[in-house]
Amino acid sequence: MADNSTSLRLWRQIPFFKREEAAVSDRIKDERRLGWVFWAAFSYIMALILLTISTNFLPYKDPAFQDYGFINSGLSAKYWFGGDALGRDIFSRVIHGAGISFSVAFTSPFIGMAIGLLMGMSAGYFRGRVDTVVSIIVDSILAFPNIVLAIAVLFFAGPTLPNLILVIAFYTIPQFTRIARANTLLYAQREFVMAARAQGASHLRILIRELLPNVIIPLAAFSLLVMSFTIILEGTLSFLGVGIPPPTPTWGRMISEGVEELVENAWIAFVPSIFMFLTILSLNLMGDRLRQFTDVKASNA
């Protein structure tokens, strides 16, 4: 990997190590390490989560409070990221907005994962007719372009947080189902499953005790990428004005309000944009690294 090339070079300078051995041991070490990029991304996400939790007990300014002296004000000691067009504290709004993004990102993927596991594992284990039924369900979910269904549900059933979480969770089901199915197919052929079957284990026992612990690992790694997908979808819906309604601050709405002020006060849109970009980037980086880490194909090849 790129980030370890210096340590690779150092390794090779040690005389009693044969070149090939050093390279191999280095590659193994490399695969077992997550790398500093991963930990940087992890720290950013953890910091943001802690800030979000701290809104419950630290005295942040009310995100809806309008301080008319600070309309479109720049960065200051009182308002760290300045005030927006209505004089509201951008810092406080960004932190509160992260709360909405995270409350979707930490619920929807797990609802989708639970359903995806159930459907994908049954399809991969029983195959045949079960597989056909599952593929029809997945095809039906994919029949609606995601944003259109989300707009429809939020419009007709009301823009509440539970509705938002459920409609986004619905769209994470197909991917989880596919990965669960593919991994179940792979593991169902392995010796330990055959051994369990030879000992007379029931289907349910094989699925839960033998297959689930193996199948859930790649799914958990993938769930980080799904989290970034849910944050993008939530942001898009808020940006379009069909997400959680005001006064609750959301990143998407903050950016859409900031666009109105883009000519004079661009930072109003850019502050939430940067936070959102870094959040998605961090989740992608972590997810990508963990996926390489847990990829069955790569580690068994």
Binding site: P145, S273, I280, N284
Partner: protein, 319 residues
Amino acid sequence: MNYFKAKILHLVPVFFLVTFASFMMLNLLPGDLVDAILLDEESSVPSAADRAALEKELNLDKPVIIRYFIWLGNMFQGDLGRSYINTQPVTEALALRIPVSLELMIMAQILAIGIAVPLGLISGYKAGQPIDRGISAGAFAVLAVPLFIMGTVLIWIFAIWWPILPSSGHTDFAKDAWGNIQGFILPALTIGLIEVPVLMRVLRTDLISTLQEDYIALAKSKGMSTRYILFNHALRPSSFTFITILGLQLGNLITGSIVVETLFSIPGVGKLLIDAVDARDEILVQGVITFVALVYVGVNLLVDLMYAVLDPRVAARGA
């Protein structure tokens, strides 16, 4: 031939599912349907005559399943109801907006291909070298940029910081062709750039494996120029996955046009939907959603069938 029949037959349940879901959406409205539609319109208590007229129009005296088939029959005759805000028929509103969205999507796709192909070629040809690493890192970063942030940044760069393009609005092509195209550049670029990373990556991966083929070595040994080899020998065999992904991007294209039309105030189908949502125009929302979902299903089918024609192995496997 069996593959084609199976694909088209598969469409039947999906069609009923999509239309039924779109139809039932109105019933998700909290409270009484007639009140929900009439109350937002004039925010006064609707008269008994208005209520009766709407009840008759929506056939509320009949059971749901009958209403669904009446609605479906009307749909086939091009009648998706009419807006309760300005009484314009939904299909008429759609007909005005479709060409705009279509132009936007086509331009976005052209820009996406125009940017992704050269980047993918350079990156695949120089795989592992600094330029490839730079391009790949850039692509990874762009993957983390939501559409509306990309659009905001592009507006700021090209309309405010260096004002060479309009940030919003739409001019009629017949009146001012250049103005029309100019207005579409930034929105189309927004959607296009979002698609580039995925497209570029698949092209890069396929190109790397193509470049290891014997006929590439032969072409090199014959002394052909790198550019000639890349464009005339390597590009075509490397582009099959690329074309597949291009077809799969349709959903993103729809999402993209809704966001971008809202951001740049372009009067397309996406803007129509969002405006209808803002105005709480239930029948119009339902009509536009039905239309978009049906187009999506239809075009996905076309894409599937096209692959089978282009690559007979797909049909052989699927049958």
